[in-house]
C-alpha cells in the first residue's frame, strides 16, 4: 500500500534521489557514476546526498571521460552490476555516442537476447534559460529513433520516482531524461506545479503507459516533460474560451503508448503535438504518423505540430523564446486547428 499522505511534496530532484537511494539500499549491485555526482550532488541535484549515504565506492566522481565511464558502465552491467551513469547534459552525447548507440543499445540483440544490460543512463534536457545550443537541447527523438534503448521523459516528481525505480529494476538499458526546469532547483525559474506528491515507499510505474492529465473533447494535445505544463496552462486558457482540450503526457517514448493517443483522437478528432525537441524526424512526426496510420478517418483537421523549428537553440532571450513552445503558442495553434 502506498502512503496516502498527500502532503508529502517533493521536487523532482528529491524524487529521483529517493528512488536511487531506495534501490541502492535494497540491491548492492546498484551504483552511481558520473561527473560531479559526489560531493557536488550532481549539477542538477540528481544525486544529492548519495555520497554521504553510500560512500565513494558506490557514488563515483569520474574524470571528464564520457566514453570511458559510460563504456565502463556497460562493461559493469554485462558483468552483473546495475550501474546508473549520469551524462551531465544530454547535449554531451556527441563525445560518447558510440558506447550508447552501437553497444549499450545493441549488445542484447547481438547476443540473441541472452545477455542483459541493466543500465540506467540519466541525463539533463531542455532549455529556456539562455544556455545556448550545446546546453539546451532535448534530443529524446534522437535516442528514441534507434532500437534498443528505453526512453523515459517524466514530467512530475511522482512519475520520476516511479519511473526511475522501474528503470533501475529493468534488465534493459534505460535512458532517463529529466528536464532541468522541472527539477525544482532554486536557481532556475520555478514551475509552480512541478513540485508534487511523492509517496515515501518505493513503487514502480510500468513503462509504456501514457497519462491523461486532463480530459477534453475538442482537441488532443500530446506532449512530454516541460511541454506538458505548457499544454496544461494552454488548456486552462482555452477552457475560458469554451474550448475543451485533452492533454496526454506520454511519459515514456520507448515503449510508446500509441493506443492512448489513438483513443483520444478518435474522441476529439483533432491532434496537436507539442515538443521541445526539433520538429523534423522526431517525436511529433512519430505521433502524427501513428494517428495517420490508425485514426486517419477520425480526423476533422490536419494534424498540427509545435516544436523547435529545425534551428539550434539560440542564446539571446528573444531568439530562444521564439523557438521554444509555450502556452500562448499552443493556444494559437489550437485555435487555428479548430478553425481549419
Amino acid at each position: 500500500m502506498l502512503s496516502i499522505n498527500a502532503d508529502r511534496k517533493l521536487t523532482m530532484s528529491k524524487a529521483i534521489t529517493e528512488a536511487i537511494a531506495q534501490e541502492m539500499e535494497q540491491d548492492e549491485r546498484v551504483f552511481v557514476l558520473g561527473e560531479d555526482v559526489g560531493i557536488y550532488g550532481g549539477i542538477f541535484s540528481s544525486t544529492a546526498g548519495l555520497l554521504e549515504k553510500f560512500g565513494p565506492e558506490r557514488v563515483i566522481d569520474t574524470p571528464i571521460s564520457e566514453t570511458g565511464f559510460i563504456g565502463a558502465a556497460l562493461g559493469a552491467a554485462m558483468e552483473g552490476m546495475r550501474p546508473i551513469a549520469e551524462l551531465m547534459f544530454v547535449d554531451f552525447f556527441g563525445v560518447c555516442m558510440d558506447q550508447i548507440y552501437n553497444h549499450i543499445a545493441k549488445n542484447t540483440y547481438f547476443a540473441g537476447g541472452h545477455m542483459k544490460v541493466p543500465l540506467v543512463l540519466m541525463t539533463a534536457t531542455g532549455g529556456g534559460y539562455n544556455d545556448a545550443g550545446q546546453h539546451s537541447q532535448s534530443l529524446w527523438g534522437t535516442f528514441a529513433h534507434l532500437p534498443g534503448l528505453k526512453v523515459v521523459v517524466p514530467s512530475t516528481p511522482y512519475d520520476a520516482k516511479g519511473l526511475m525505480t522501474q528503470a533501475i529494476r529493468d534488465d534493459n538499458p534505460v535512458l532517463f531524461m529529466f528536464h532541468k526546469g522541472l527539477m525544482g532547483l532554486g536557481w532556475m525559474t520555478l514551475v509552480k506545479d512541478a513540485t508534487g506528491h511523492v509517496p515515501e515507499e518505493a513503487y514502480a510505474i510500468p513503462f509504456g503507459q501514457a497519462d491523461v492529465k486532463r480530459e477534453g473533447t475538442d482537441v488532443t494535445i500530446v506532449s512530454v516533460s516541460m511541454g506538458v505544463y505548457h499544454a496544461l496552462e494552454a488548456a486552462r486558457e482555452l477552457e475560458r474560451e469554451g474550448i475543451s482540450a485533452e492533454v496526454i503526457d506520454l511519459r515514456t517514448l520507448v515503449p510508446l503508448d500509441r493506443e492512448a493517443v489513438v483513443r483520444s483522437v478518435k474522441k476529439t478528432h483533432r491532434l496537436l503535438v507539442v515538443d521541445e525537441d526539433y520538429l523534423s524526424y522526431g517525436m511529433s512526426g512519430e505521433i502524427a504518423a501513428t494517428v495517420a496510420e490508425r485514426a486517419f478517418d477520425y480526423l476533422d483537421a490536419p494534424v498540427r505540430r509545435l516544436a523547435v523549428p529545425d534551428v539550434p537553440i539560440p542564446f539571446a532571450r528573444p531568439l530562444e523564446q521564439f523557438v521554444l513552445p509555450d502556452a500562448p503558442k499552443i493556444v494559437a495553434a489550437v485555435k487555428e486547428l479548430l478553425n481549419s
Binding site: D36, I43, M188
Partner: protein, 341 residues
C-alpha cells in the same frame, strides 16, 4: 630575457583588461538575479564561466601570436579571446545577446567566433583540441608558417579528444601548441581525483613530443615557454604540450556555492595574485615607471567600460532572426570565389 618595454606593458595591459572585464562581468551578471538567483534572469542570462586569476596563460601565449594564427578556446573563453585580440565591443554584445554581437546573439558567452582574428571556442570539453590540429594541417597545406593554439583545462586532458589530437599532431608534425590550463578543478572534481599522473606535461612523452611544465601562474615563465613552443612550430618542428599551473579565483560558474573548496583556499590564491606580482616586478626592476603603469590601467578600464556601454546600448535581435543562419547563402567555385545563391 630582454623583452621590450612596450611588450611588457602590453601584456600587463591585457591582463588588467581581462581581470577588469571579468569583475565587471561578475557584477553585471548579478543584475536582475538578486535577491533570488535565477540563471534565466537579468542583463546577462545563462551560464557564466569567468577566468579571473588565469590571465598569465592566455596573455603569455597569445603575446607570440599573429592575427592569422588560430586559437581554439573553451567554455571559459574571455581571457583567451581578449588576449587574441577579439573585438571587445562585439564580444561583449554577444555575451549580452545583442544583435551587434559577434554572432548576432546566436552563440552567447561559450560560443564566441571572430574569424577576423581566427578565434573560436566551444562549450564541449576538449572539442577545440582536434580542431586546432586541423587548423594546423590547413596551415601546412597552405605552405604558411602560421600556428594553431588550443587552450583547455586540466579536466579536458582526460577526454579522448586530447589523446587523439596529440597523437595526430605528433604523427603529422603539425604546428600546434597544446596548452593545458591547470586550475586544479573540473567543476568540483580536483585534478588529483581525476588524473592518473601528477603532471599533464608528462603525457607528451606518450606521443614523442616535448612536454613543458610552467608553475606558479607566472606570466614571464609562460611567455618564455610559449615563445619556444611557437618558434618550434613555426620552424616546422612539430607540436609542443605546455602545462601551466594557474588559479581560478571565482567559482566554476557564477552562482557556484563552491562547497567543495577547502576553507581559505581562495584567500591563499588571492594573496599571490599574478597581476599584482607582475606589477611589482615591473616597478622593482624599473622596467616601467609607475605613472605609465597607472595610465595603462586607466586605459584598460576605459576600454572595458566602452565595451559594456556598447553592449548595453545595442538592440536585441528581432525574434524571427532565430530562423536565419543555419546555413550560409553562398557557394564557392573551384577557385574559392564566392557566389550568392
Amino acid at each position: 630575457m630582454g623583452i621590450p618595454k612596450e611588450r611588457l606593458l602590453q601584456m600587463y595591459r591585457d591582463m588588467v583588461v581581462i581581470r577588469h572585464y571579468e569583475e565587471i562581468m561578475a557584477q553585471t551578471y548579478l543584475e536582475g538575479k538578486q535577491p533570488v538567483f535565477n540563471i534565466a534572469a537579468g542583463t546577462v542570462p545563462g551560464e557564466m564561466h569567468l577566468a579571473a586569476g588565469q590571465e598569465p596563460v592566455a596573455v603569455g601565449v597569445c603575446a607570440h601570436l599573429r592575427k592569422e594564427d588560430a586559437v581554439a578556446g573553451t567554455h571559459r573563453p574571455h581571457h583567451f579571446a581578449i588576449a587574441k585580440g577579439v573585438d571587445l565591443k562585439r564580444m561583449t554584445a554577444e555575451i549580452f545577446g545583442k544583435v551587434t554581437g559577434l554572432g548576432q546573439g546566436k552563440g552567447g558567452h561559450m560560443h564566441l567566433f571572430d574569424p577576423d582574428v581566427h578565434f573560436g571556442c566551444s562549450g564541449i570539453i576538449a572539442a577545440g583540441i582536434p580542431q586546432a590540429v586541423g587548423a594546423a594541417l590547413a596551415f601546412r597545406q597552405q605552405k604558411s608558417d602560421k600556428v594553431a593554439v588550443t587552450f583547455f583545462g586540466e579536466g579536458a586532458a582526460n577526454q579522448g579528444a586530447f589523446h587523439e589530437g596529440l597523437n595526430l599532431a605528433a604523427l603529422w608534425r603539425l604546428p600546434v601548441i597544446f596548452v593545458v590550463e591547470d586550475n586544479d578543478y573540473a567543476i568540483s572534481v580536483p585534478k588529483q581525483k581525476s588524473t592518473a599522473v601528477a603532471s599533464n606535461a608528462d603525457r607528451a612523452a606518450g606521443y614523442g613530443i616535448p612536454g613543458v611544465y610552467v608553475g606558479e601562474n607566472d606570466l614571464l615563465a609562460v611567455y618564455e615557454a610559449a615563445g619556444e613552443a611557437v618558434a618550434r612550430a613555426r620552424r616546422g618542428e612539430g607540436p609542443t604540450l605546455l602545462e601551466v599551473k594557474t588559479d581560478r579565483l571565482f567559482g566554476h560558474f557564477q552562482g557556484d556555492a563552491e562547497l567543495y573548496r577547502p576553507k581559505g583556499e581562495v584567500e591563499r590564491l588571492r594573496a599571490k595574485d599574478p597581476i599584482a606580482r607582475f606589477r611589482t616586478y615591473l616597478i622593482e626592476r624599473e622596467l616601467a615607471p609607475e605613472t605609465e603603469i597607472t595610465d595603462t590601467e586607466q586605459q584598460a578600464r576605459q576600454s572595458v567600460a566602452e565595451a559594456f556601454a556598447f553592449a548595453r546600448e545595442s538592440a536585441y535581435p528581432a525574434p524571427e532572426e532565430a530562423l536565419k543562419h543555419v546555413f550560409v547563402e553562398t557557394t564557392s567555385d573551384r577557385r574559392g570565389r564566392h557566389a550568392v545563391n
